[in-house]
Symmetry: C2
Subunit: 205 residues, 2 copies
């Protein structure tokens, strides 16, 4: 089989597919810090299970384990923040994924600021911050999906290109969850989106 | 203000936060190809709005516009696939985000295979494939969140390290959605996860 693969490198027909553990997350996810006021104090946790889920109005989803301390604050206040750390904050971010706000004051690490609501703590050191109003909660077996409508979006003045955040300056990083677990930065420009595929249109062949 | 920032590079207090368009997605997301049988034929679409949402059982969420052709197949069959393309498939992936299966047969681009169910088409050329059973659908203003339980996970034999996919071999790529829209590869190793933050524990200071 190995020899066949070498002889026919452009054919996918000889590739052997093998099963792997269903719980292995085999793709990178950006890491964000989710913020909420819990028991009257700001708290932050690292989350790699999140996504945009709606465009108009703009909405995001974060999936938090049911016993997460931060989740209590989201339920209590009906709002939360999503902060995008740069590579220079990888230690603080990792720390917020290791320890619980139940036992340690993680906000001590950050300069906290507020946007429209004093119940939505955000991290000034993170170049990009989203402020959200809880719109819906979906209960899963082990998590709660907190779906929020974005009501504020903030970026460091010097991390922009034109009117929007410049991700080559923001320098977000990704978590490779499958062990060994690593953080990776953004790599090279691979292609222009909504462009490189046009050549495959039947009219072009 | 600019001068202050240069003089005090380690202080975040002088950074000016500015608002930006609430609809701008200012973080990278991995791009996947979501597969379903629609009207009896396999179809695939590019999606960057997706996430793991539960660990046990392992579950994933994909957010699809309500008029997406692929969504019709997911509703009809109650199952779908999530395929992780490598950088070598960036053109095909982009194409699947540009054109609708309503007007063009996108499956012609791929060698399609099936796992446990003949209703879940997967792409052999994508090094990692997940097979999912639809567990829940959450209706958003403009999208449907299809939440699936992972029932099969497949990887190319030569894209593994040990028993799990090796993402440095899989070479997934990320979409920077905010214009100009670009695809980026994975970059350098920044730090070890669940490790680099330990030094911030109070007992260590």
């Amino acid at each position: 089989m190995r020899e066949l693969l070498i002889i026919c490198p452009f054919s996918s027909f000889n590739m052997v597919k093998l099963g792997f553990n269903l719980r292995t997350t085999a793709y990178p996810m950006p890491v964000v810090l989710v913020g909420a006021v819990v028991n009257g104090k700001p708290n932050f946790m690292a989350v790699a299970w999140f996504s945009k889920v709606n465009s108009n109005p703009p909405m995001m989803m974060v999936a938090l384990g049911k016993r997460q301390y931060t989740g209590e604050g989201i339920v209590e206040n009906g709002c939360f923040s999503v902060n995008i750390p740069g590579e220079d904050m990888v230690s603080e971010t990792d720390y917020c994924g290791i320890v619980s706000g139940r036992v340690e004051d993680k906000a001590r690490l950050f300069d906290v600021f507020y946007g429209k609501s004093v119940r939505v703590p955000m991290i000034r050191g993170c170049p990009v911050n989203y402020e959200l109003r809880l719109a819906d909660t979906v209960e899963m077996p082990g998590t709660n999906l907190f779906i929020g409508e974005i009501v504020g979006a903030y970026v460091d003045e010097e991390k922009r290109s034109g009117e929007v955040p410049d991700l080559t300056l923001v320098k977000p990083f990704m978590l490779m969850e499958s062990p060994p677990s690593h953080y990776y930065g953004l790599g090279r420009h691979v292609a222009d989106a909504y462009e490189v595929g046009k050549k495959l249109k039947p009219s072009n062949t």
